[in-house]
Structure formats: structure tokens, C-alpha cells
Symmetry: C2
Subunit: 682 residues, 2 copies
């Protein structure tokens, strides 16, 4: 008779095991990661599984709850003390007694911790670099005078199968007290990242320690965002963000590099500032989740090359000038204590690799999150900031570049531009007949022509226009015929509408006439034209390099991507033609990538290998970039190139003939129309 | 035709290599360690070899200088610039052209550094944990934007065969400046100790760095001794010692443990004190050798368990009470920076394993130095301090114990006792007829009955008696019949000699009657009896454990062993019977063992494996120890047990009959004899 077959879901890994094999052992032997802290003593409750009943034709297996051992005394005790949900089993105690389909739930809740509803609820398979291991250590024996630490290591090797354990130096002075506190029972945190490195005891607690956290942090030039993640359950326990305090040294990256070049102490001050901010954020997320700083055992950081360098204490001067040499491009493994991080003194730090001098660990994290290399379609990822990082590719080939868009998309260098903050215009529509605008501002759900709008923005006013608003107003001006394909504001319309006004030798469009008056000037149009040309030229260059005549999907990463309407981005020619259903904003993908690297060390290897494979294109060295750039200045840069978009938008000439809709956009009726409608109804 | 045969001496390793193979490559392939920093550029001069000419019948090989390539332009250039002695070749440039016997000289002098004549000139094969590697790194390339550090690693892997290099965190902020300073030429220090650990770049210099040092340090309770050793040549560049500043917290180890137990801040203060003293010593040896602290890349420390723990910042309280649990017994690998050592910030530290709670890393170092496990004879190693560490064994089996001798052998608990310092009596002879003593004191070459003696000790006086003096005076008192086999001072002799005096209810012997008067009291005799019984009982117990009825050789380690006369030690019964020619003092064997571990990482593995194998005997748990102890109180404890000694000494009864010589001791004539002789001669 053959041994029972055990199939683990969702991995699909399977194997045959003798009756009586604990399900946890079966999982281990198959390389299925089932958490267990207590080492089979049925006290930590981390190893819960569920049996799926039924016949699984595809796998030729019939699974039943009769095929697993009945609840034993250890599970009964755990159920009494901590509670074990109906249907759940502790895989360390339950044994294989027949064919089984076993589900490894990812939501095992222990300690009834508060669970945060995360916007990005992506499931990440766990295989963290830090593992908790509970052991009961032999007491000292004068006949065999092995040191306390040596007996601890021996027991960890015996009970958990570790080999050649190293120990963090800082534990040496503590090990004797910790071992004696709970009668020689302790929980050790073991760190092992690379298979080729030796596992290391990095932390030690008396008795059973049943919690372990990690942080995933994206250090942006403007904002630092952090998740606190349970390494045992994979859940996000808390998230928080803070402004990057380096802003006081310079708004944009290059001015911070200049600051370092001009001030000998500048590098140190900026490194301290960002490290303090990060440590402050750790305090914030720990407080939110009711965790201790000492429970944080691992940390993953991503950031653009300059943030990456400054955080590590590296002078970024070389990144400010050709050949833009990174001090280190590969993944960095270090200690929290080395970068002044106030977390567990044995905690480790991992930083994702940088792709190039202008394409950093944040872009690597976005790539890891979106995974162009994991699928066959041609995927374009765009992360717009002061520069736009562009990654294009599929499982066969991935190329990447940074395009010098400048800060126009972020509202800088725009006369009425401002950050995306309450009071900023974010949506714009222009009536092609009357040339009258309507808009919405951040902080209000109403359009500017809705009743009560003025009241709703009383506290902020209409203070400026943010990145997504700029994209829309320029696109709408174009669709309304206010600007030509060359980007010139048509001064002749000044006769038709008071909105078109002369400003110096050129014309502008008055979007808001309350105080402050917000006018879109000819210079503003030029700034956006330059930015979008740079972005488009970068994308075009990568498409040429990889030999792609189209892209199958587009992902907008980052805050900018979350707010802009992909259709307007396409009208303006920011991105190439693509089925609009396949264009999506993926929010803080860099944070998601960091979380993946935190929870699964295989994802670390994945992105390290991927970054090695990525072909880096330096736009400054490519003559074709200039050509594409010049060609992309027009609005829109050849509609023929956008067949899928063309079917959904009406271009100026058609619009002015009455085909006024931007297909798919939920057009709101104008005030007049609504007034007319109300009149009809009443 | 077969390839030429190349035989390397003194290792005897051999292999066949195609003509044209650089001799250095042949050495590498055979695992013969030939230093090379410049990587075959013929600039560092570290890879010098010599060809031995002649027919070596035993090896069936005829070697000739015609069988190696003629000096090429690279060697000529090196000879012009730095000088290459006649007969020496640079093995990176010289190629195999026929059968060769190659000598790898251990005295390659580069930089003409001052070489210290070391008392212990033992040759140690080099295979250090730190290696210098010179490389010329590719410049940054925007098309392949690998980081500077990543290109450095790639070149080290390509040129030197390293794999999976790690980098010390502290180098990240420096790497770009260092690489650019000498046009992308740098020397990296790579640390790799265990084969299972990944090699790490721990230091980096612009251009060719052609020096690297390590320190080997023995932290004793009383004295800290340090060697500065060139890792490239193996030479001791400087040595120095200093008093352990912890003495202010307590003379002996147990009083220091008590201090920690009574003072919460005591541990920290003692750790700081010893670390500061060690750092001070580093400065001293560096100054002596003209080296920089930054050139020190590796450090090996040994010490007794309490010093070991305090140096590492570990509370030694557990070592002060049964079961004498060590916090850590295995070898400790750490960083200089972790223990506040002011050397190169990337420098590593290795501490030898401790054998047991009372038998420390210093005893392990002595074992490594003397090597009982490397030979077949039964070797006894005795290191006398406050406790005596005893190691006994051969290649088959090794046992070890600590015996509670107390501090009597060091002059403590003896009425006139003092440290071995100028003014202390160190040699004693007693005329068995007149019972008159003669002695020598440290600081003078004269005996007390020599003319000019008083003048020669004018600056110090005769201030007390040190350990070796005590051994001799008790033995001489016994040989002169002043004390009985039971150790009782014979009061009846007071009638015969004014040297025998009543002190309270017992009698004593006046050794020196100048101020301060030095009297050997009955209590002193008892203290020595107890100490020597403990030592002998420990040895006897180990002999029993291992089943040895005799020992083949005896090594006295440490300062005490360097001063005592083995014959007197045997008369008193400190050590078992042994051929006196096989009894030797080995000086600072702990320092030698530390030096071995510093220069050759195989010696680290050797002592780690040996310590695991050593059977630890806890004397307090052995009933037989008490029995042996009681039996060993008599003086001497059964001469029958010392047949080899018996043939060389005359015991009291024979001595008093006129056979007065202790054979082998260069007896000096008494004053009367010399006076009589002078009278005859004139």
C-alpha cells in the first residue's frame, strides 16, 4: 500500500508521507512555508491549517477530515487557552492519516491583534529572513562545561535543524540572564537572508515570544512612507507617512546634491535628518499597532539613488554629474544599528538594488511589485516625479530609463502650480462652445459650478493647480481649440471669451478668477509640453530598444499616477496608445515592493537577478532621444499613433462640430443645461 | 612527455605543471600559501621564492636554476626599484620550465621594516584570515551603470577568485573617494575566517597598500601582553606588556567577581578599564614598529574565563559560583569596533574558545602552542597562577582541569611573600650542616654571600620572597632537615642554629635578617604544602582519568614556570616524576598560541576541534581528588614514585651524611670554602 498523498494549497506542492507524519513536517519537507514559533509544542498557534474536503479531479485526490488525526490533548489545550476556530488544526499536532488537501490560511490571527485594512491588500507568500524559534535549553553541567550560548546553539540546531549558527555580539552580555529568567526556555530570532550566508541569532527573549515585526519603507524626496508588517502573519499592522525633512535643504534632489557640494557638513546633516525622520515614523507605526520598537527585527528600505545614498551616509555628489556613478548599486545588507535605527539592536536592514544612477531602489521596488518580468505581455511602468522612471518589458527582456521631465508635472514651474493639497484644482472641464471652465478642488466633492461649491472650499479657497489639474486643463484647452497642435494659445479667441487674455506678448487662459487668480499662461503650456515630450521620448526610446511597436498595459506608480485620468494623459501624449482598460494607477507600488522583499527573501533574490538583467538606457547618450523629444512636442503627437485612443476621444475639429464628449468620461451637465432641465421638470 | 614536477619546501607539497606556469600559480593550485598583494604585477615583492638546486633522492627530483625562466623585465624593474636579493625570484613572474624544488622563505623583508628579535622565534606557517588584494577597477560606464563598489567586487572576483564578497558597512561612504584617488587602483583587505562564511572587504586603500598587521594579546589577571605581528611576513614587529588596570578592583580574580556582584556599575568599569589598557598597548606596539593603528586588521585575544568575559562585556558572576557556567565557551568572532578597539574600523577580532569555567582561552592557547594533541608522547602542561590549569594528553586523548592551588605560589598568603620584582629573593640554598642560607634576589647577579652583594641590592634592598624563591626555600629546608616529611619545622634545631626561631606556638626559619626580616613560618610551609598538594592531586587525577602511569614530558607555562627550577618543583612534589631533560619552561605560551591563531586560520579550527575533544574534569566533583590531595601533603610524596628524580637528588638522610649535592645544580662554593681556597692560592 502506498503512503497517503498530501497536497498543499495554494502552492500545489504535493508528496506522499507515512501515516502519523505531523502535517507540519510534511509541509517542511515539501518546502511549504508554514510558520511555527514554538517548535511543535502547540503553544504558539502559528501553524494553523485547514483540510479541504472533496474530490479534486484535477489532482486525482479525495480529501476528507477523516484523513487527519482527531484533535489531540495539545490542540484541546490550545483551544481552551487561546481559541482554535472550527475547522482549524495545529499542523504540528495533527497527523496525516489518509489523502489530504491542506489549505495554509494566510490570516491566522494570534494575540487578537488589531488588523488594519490595507488599501493594497495584495497577498504575499511569506518566507521572511527572520524566523522565531522557541527552545528549552539544557542546564549547565560541570561535567560538560559548554557555555550557555553554546548549549542554546546546540538546542536550536537539534530542534530546528539550523547549522553553524552565528550570534550577534550584543547578545553575549545578556544571554545568561535571559536563559535563567524563564527556566531555560527562550525564543531566539534567527536571521538568514542569502542561502550562502550563515544563520545568525539576532535576538533572544525569555519564554515564548509570539510576535515579530518588520518595516517596509519608501524614502521619497518629498514623503517618507512606512508599513509595519507582522513577520509571522504577513499582515500590515500599521502605516504612516511623514514629509521628508530634507526639504529644508532643497525642494528637489539636485538642489540637495548642490547643498552637499557647497556645505562640507551638509551630507551629515541630511543623513541625520532622514534617519531621525525614519526613526520617528517607526515610533508612530509601533504606537499605532501597540508594538514595541524592540519587536522590529527586519527592515527593508527603498528610495531613489540620492535618498538611498544619503540614508546610508554616502555623499551623493557623484550622482549630480556624469557619469552619475552610484557608490553601490547592488542590494545592501546591513544592521539597524549601523544606520542609527532605534529598533531591536540585532535587527537587520535590506535595501533593494538600484537600477542606475537615475533609476533607484524605488524603481526596483515598483518593478518587483508590478512584475513585468513575471509575465509575457509588454508592460510599461511609469513613475512620475521630478524625473520620470520608465520600465518596459516582459519575461524575456526588461529595459529601463529615467527621463528628464522636470518638475512641471508636480506643479512646480507652473505659474499657478502647487502641491496636491486641499485647495488645489485637480479636475478641469472646458465647454468648447462657451470656453467656460468648471473644476474641482482637493477637499471638496463639488464642481465649481455646483451650488454650495464656494461654501465647500471656504476654509482653503481655490489656491492653485496641482499636477493632475494641469494635465487636464492643458488637454481640455487643446480639445476646446484654445491651444493649437503646436501648443500656441489662440489670441484671436480673446475677442470671443474674456477667459482668453493677453499676458505680455502671449496669451493665457483664466481658469479661476477669484483671488488668487489662476491663469494658464503660454509658458505653462510650454513647460507641460517639454515634460510630456521628455516622458514620451523616453518611452518611445525604450520601445525602440526592445523592438515593441505597442504596449499591452501601462501602470502609473506613485502619487501623480493616482490622481491623473489616464485618458487625459493619453490625449496629451504622456503615454503611448494602449487599451484604456489596461491602464491603471498602482499607488505606492514602491511600498508594495518593499513589503514583498520584507516578507519573502525569494523576492529579494528575484529583484536582484532582475535588476542585473535590466538593460539600462541613458537618455543623455542616445541621439534618438532628442529626435523623439522634438517630435513629441506637438499636441497630440500624431493621433494615428493612438488608434485605440482615437476611437474614444473627439479631436478639436470634430469637437467644435458638436461631437463634444470625451468618450468614457462621465460628463456632468453644465449649469445652463441643469437649469434648463430643472425648468423642464418643474 | 610529462609535465615538470614542482616540489614546495618545507611543506613537501608537489604537483606537475605545464611549462610556462607561473610558480605562484603552481603554489596556489597545491594550496601552498605564498603571499601576494599586487596580484602578479611584480610590484609588492611578497611572493619571493628560492630554487633549491641538486638531486633530491628522497623525492626523486633534480632541481636546477635552469629549470625556471630567466629573470624577466618585471623582476628586473622590481630589483632596480626595491632590490631583489641574489637567488630570489618573484614567483608571480618566474615560470616553471623543468623540475623544481622551491623554497618559500619566511623572512621576506619588504619595506626594510625593523625586525624585532623575538625570544620565541617559533616558525608559524602563514594562512591568515586577512589578505590584501590589489586591483585596478573599471571606470564608471553610463551604459552599464554598476555601482563603484559593485565594479570593485567584480574585479576582486575576477582577479583573485573571490566569490560572493560582502562589504563592511563603514566603507560605503568612503569607496568613491578611495577609488578615485589613485586612478581606480586600490588595495582591498579581505577577511575570511571560516570556510563556511562569506569573504568580506573590511578595508580599502588607494593604490598599493603593502603592509598589514595583526595583534595577538594575552589578557592576564595581572599582566596584559601583546605582540604586533605582520600578517604579510609573519614577523613579530613589536611586543609590549602592561599591568592589568583591573587590579585596582581586586588583586585576584575572585575579588574582581565579588566587586561586580557588590557594585552594579562594577562590570562596566572593569570592562572599560581593560579595553582602555588594551587600546593603550596597541598604541605602544604600533609606535615601536612605526605602524599606524589603521594598519591593524585582525586581532586575537586569549585570557582566563573571567578576563575573557569582562573583556567582552559579559558579567562574570556565574563564573564565581557552581556550576561555573560560561556565557560562551566556543570561539568568539567579532569586530574591533564592537569592543571599542581603536584599530582599523573594519578589523576583526577572534577569541579562542574556553575549555571550561575555570580553564580559559589562555589554557586553550597554551594547548595550541605546545600541541599535546599533535604528538604521541604523554605531555603534561602546567600553568600556575591563582589556580593551576593542567592539561594532559597526546594525539589520542586530552584531559584538562583546574586545581585550586590558591595564590601561595605567587607569593601571596606567604608572610614575606611578594611579586617577582627587584628585591625579591628568587634563589635559595641552605647549608645542611650550618643551616646558613645564601640567596639571590631579582635585580642582582650576586649571591648573598658574594662580596659586593649588599652594594648590588642597595637600591631595592631584600624586600621579600617571590614564588620561585618560596619553592626553593621550602625544598632546601626539607633537604637540610629543617622540616620533616610532614612539613613540621623542627623546633629542636633552634638550639643548633639561630636561624630556627620560635614564632608563637610553632617555629620558623629566618632567611634574611636585614630589614625587613624575612622568616619562613610554619604557616608558610603549610600554605605551600596545600598549594603543591592541590597541583599534584589535579595532575594525579588527570593521569588516572587518562590511564597514564607516567608522563613523558612536562611544560611549565607562564611567568611562574619561567623562574622556578624544575628540580625543586619535583623535590616538593609539584609535578610528577619525569626525565628532567623533558621538563621545560615555555614562557608566554599563551601568547604564542594567540600568535598561531592570528597567523593561520587552520590553527583556529585546530584548537576549536581540540577543545571540543578535551575531556574536562571538575576537581570539585571528583572524590578521588580529595584522596590525592591528602596523600600529596607529605614532602616529598613518596620518592618511590619518582625513580628518575630519585637518582638525581639526595634526600635528607643521605644529605646529612655528606651527600649534599642536588645533582645537576651548579653549586656555588660557600664563603668559607672560597675563603679557604683563596688562602690556599695565595
Amino acid at each position: 500500500m502506498t503512503d497517503p498523498l498530501v497536497l498543499f494549497m495554494p502552492s500545489g506542492k504535493r508528496g506522499r508521507f507515512p501515516k502519523g507524519t505531523p502535517v507540519l513536517d510534511a509541509a517542511r519537507q515539501l518546502g511549504v512555508y508554514v510558520e511555527s514559533v514554538c517548535g511543535g509544542r502547540a503553544t504558539c498557534g502559528r501553524c494553523q491549517i485547514e483540510v479541504q474536503e472533496g474530490h479534486f479531479a484535477k489532482h486525482k485526490i479525495t480529501s476528507s477530515n477523516d484523513h487527519i488525526s482527531a484533535r489531540g490533548p495539545k490542540e484541546e489545550r490550545y483551544d481552551r487557552v487561546r481559541g482554535l476556530p472550527e475547522g482549524r488544526r495545529l499542523s504540528c499536532s495533527a497527523t496525516v492519516e489518509g489523502d489530504l488537501v491542506v489549505d495554509v490560511p494566510q490570516d491566522t490571527v494570534v494575540n487578537a491583534q488589531v488588523v488594519r485594512k490595507d488599501a493594497d491588500a495584495r497577498h504575499i507568500d511569506r518566507f521572511p529572513a527572520v524566523q522565531l524559534c522557541y527552545v528549552e535549553v539544557d542546564q549547565p553541567d560541570m561535567h560538560k562545561p559548554l557555555g550557555d550560548l553554546d548549549r542554546l546553539k546546540a538546542m536550536l540546531e537539534k530542534d530546528w535543524g539550523w547549522e553553524d549558527l552565528l550570534v550577534s555580539q550584543h547578545l553575549l552580555p545578556q544571554v545568561q540572564k535571559i536563559l535563567r529568567k524563564e527556566n531555560w526556555a527562550v525564543t531566539a530570532a534567527i536571521h538568514r537572508d542569502l542561502d550562502s550566508s550563515r544563520p545568525t541569532i539576532i535576538a533572544l527573549w525569555p519564554g515564548l515570544q509570539n510576535k515579530a515585526y518588520g518595516i517596509a519603507c519608501d524614502i521619497g524626496s518629498t514623503t517618507i512612507a512606512m508599513h509595519l508588517v507582522s513577520l509571522l502573519s504577513g499582515r500590515v499592522a500599521a502605516s504612516a507617512g511623514i514629509s521628508n525633512p530634507q526639504i529644508r535643504f532643497g525642494e528637489d534632489l539636485m538642489s540637495r546634491v548642490s547643498y552637499v557640494m557647497m556645505n562640507p557638513e551638509g551630507r551629515g546633516a541630511m543623513t541625520r535628518a532622514v534617519r531621525e525622520a525614519v526613526s520617528g515614523l517607526v515610533g508612530k507605526v509601533c504606537e499605532q499597532a501597540g508594538a514595541e520598537r524592540d519587536d522590529v527585527l527586519d527592515a527593508v528600505f527603498v528610495g531613489n539613488p540620492i535618498m538611498h545614498h544619503l540614508f546610508l551616509g554616502i555623499d551623493p555628489t557623484e550622482l549630480g554629474q556624469a557619469p552619475f556613478a552610484l557608490a553601490v548599486s547592488g542590494a545592501v545588507h546591513t544592521w539597524g544599528s549601523e544606520i542609527d535605527l532605534d529598533i531591536n539592536p540585532g535587527a537587520r536592514v535590506y535595501m533593494l538594488p538600484c537600477i542606475a544612477g537615475h533609476v533607484g531602489a524605488d524603481a526596483a521596488a515598483v518593478t518587483l511589485s508590478e512584475g513585468p518580468h513575471r509575465q509575457d505581455e509588454m508592460m510599461l511602468i511609469v513613475d512620475v516625479g521630478t524625473n520620470a522612471e520608465i520600465v518596459l518589458g516582459n519575461s524575456e527582456r526588461v529595459v529601463a530609463a529615467s527621463s528628464p521631465t522636470g518638475p512641471a508635472f508636480e506643479g512646480a514651474e507652473i505659474s499657478g502650480g502647487q502641491r496636491a493639497a486641499p485647495g488645489a484644482i485637480e479636475r478641469v472641464r472646458i465647454d468648447p462652445v462657451t470656453l467656460e471652465p468648471r473644476f474641482r478642488v482637493i477637499g471638496s466633492d463639488l464642481w465649481s459650478d455646483d451650488p454650495g461649491f464656494a461654501e465647500s472650499v471656504k476654509s482653503t479657497g481655490v489656491s492653485g493647480i496641482c499636477g493632475s489639474g494641469i494635465i487636464e486643463v492643458i488637454a481640455e484647452m487643446f480639445l476646446a481649440g484654445i491651444i493649437s497642435e503646436d501648443g500656441v494659445v489662440d489670441g484671436s479667441l480673446a475677442a470671443k471669451s474674456p477667459r482668453v487674455v493677453q499676458t505680455g506678448r502671449t496669451f493665457g487662459y483664466v481658469l479661476s478668477d477669484s483671488e488668487p487668480r489662476i491663469t494658464i499662461t503660454q509658458n505653462d503650456v510650454r513647460a507641460i509640453q517639454l515634460a510630456k515630450s521628455a516622458l514620451y521620448a523616453g518611452t518611445k526610446l525604450l520601445m525602440e530598444k526592445i523592438g515593441a511597436d505597442h504596449v499591452d498595459s501601462i501602470r502609473f506608480a506613485g502619487a501623480f499616477g493616482s490622481f491623473i485620468d489616464p485618458k487625459y494623459a493619453m490625449v496629451l501624449g504622456l503615454i503611448p496608445d494602449c487599451d484604456l482598460d489596461k491602464v491603471s494607477a498602482v499607488g505606492n507600488a514602491a511600498g508594495t515592493g518593499a513589503r514583498m522583499a520584507l516578507l519573502n527573501r525569494n523576492h529579494r533574490r528575484e529583484i536582484e537577478e532582475t535588476v542585473k538583467r535590466i538593460e539600462k538606457i541613458e537618455t543623455a547618450l542616445e541621439p534618438r532621444f532628442q529626435e523623439h523629444f522634438v517630435h513629441a512636442m506637438a499636441l497630440p503627437n500624431k493621433v494615428d499613433a493612438f488608434p485605440r485612443l482615437a476611437s474614444r476621444v473627439t479631436l478639436p475639429e470634430r469637437r467644435q462640430q458638436g461631437e463634444l464628449e470625451l468618450a468614457g468620461a462621465p460628463r456632468r451637465r453644465s449649469r445652463e443645461e441643469r437649469a434648463a432641465r430643472r425648468n423642464r421638470e418643474t
